[in-house]
Symmetry: C2
Subunit: 135 residues, 2 copies
Amino acid sequence: MNIGTLAKRSGVPAKTIRYYESVDLIESPARSENGYRVYDEEAVRTLSFIRKSRELGFPLEEVRSLLGLWQNKQRSSGEVRALAQSRIQDIDSRINELQRLRDELGHLVHACHGDHRPECPILEALEPHTERTSK
Amino acid sequence: MNIGTLAKRSGVPAKTIRYYESVDLIESPARSENGYRVYDEEAVRTLSFIRKSRELGFPLEEVRSLLGLWQNKQRSSGEVRALAQSRIQDIDSRINELQRLRDELGHLVHACHGDHRPECPILEALEPHTERTSK
DNA sequence: ATAGAGCTTCCAGTCGCTGGAAGGTCAAGG
DNA sequence: CCTTGACCTTCCAGCGACTGGAAGCTCTAT
C-alpha cells in the first residue's frame, strides 16, 4: 500500500502522515525499489487511532502517550483515564473562558445601537479609563 | 517614555510592542539620540485598547479594524457591532465543539474503571473497528 | 570602575500541520 | 514511442501571535 491509499483508508492526509513520521510519532515504513513508502494493515489501524485521538482533541504529545499505552498490553487503564481526565479539565477551562468572553461581548452588542451613528459602547468599553495623569 | 514604561502602563510586554510595530499594527515611534523608542500618552491609550481587544479574543486583524474604527470619528457603530457579532459566532461554534468533545470524553472516562487492569473503554473507542478486510 | 537594568537587532522556536516548488515514477491511451 | 496525468519524493516556507535568547550598546548608581 502506498501513502495515498493509506491516506484514504485512515482519513489522515498524506502530508500529515509524512509529518508524523518526521516527528517520530509513527515508524518509518519500508521503501519499495522506487523509493515509495510501503505500508501494511497495521499502519491503517495506527493512523486511524491517531486520527480519532486528535479528533478528541488530544495534543500530539498526549497522542504519543496514548499510542504507547494502546500498544502496551500490560498497561493499566488508570493511566489512560488520567490522561483523559486532564484533557477534560483543559477543555472545561477553555469553555469557561470562552463563555466569559461570549457573555461580555453579548452585553456589549446588546448595548450598541449598531446603526449609522458613531456612538458605540463597544469601543467605549475597549477604551482605557481616561484619568488625568501628570504629564 | 521608554518602551519599558509603556509596557508597564499599558500591560503589553515590550517584546509584544516591538512585534506590533513590526507588523504595522502601531506606528513606529520617534527615537531618542541613543536609538531608544520614545512614546507619548497616546501610545499608552492605543496599547491599552489593543490589549483589551485581544483579551476579548479579537484576532489581530480584527484589532486592526477596530483600531481604525476607534480612531475614525465618522465611523458607524454598525460596523463595530458587526465585528463583535461575528466574533460571538466564532466563540459559540468553538464552545459547541468543545462541549461535544467534553461530553464524549466524559462518557469514556465514566465507562473506564481506571485501575491497574488493562481493560480500557477509552482505548477501545479510539481503536478502529476491526473488520475482516481482504488481505 | 563596575554591576545591573534597560535598550537595540536579529534569529529561532512554539503547534500541527499545509502549500508549493522541483523533480522522479508509473500506467494508460494515441 | 511519446505524452499526459496521477502518483510519489524531498525540502523550504508560512500560518497566529507571540516568546526566548544571543550579542551588544547605554544609562544609572554605588
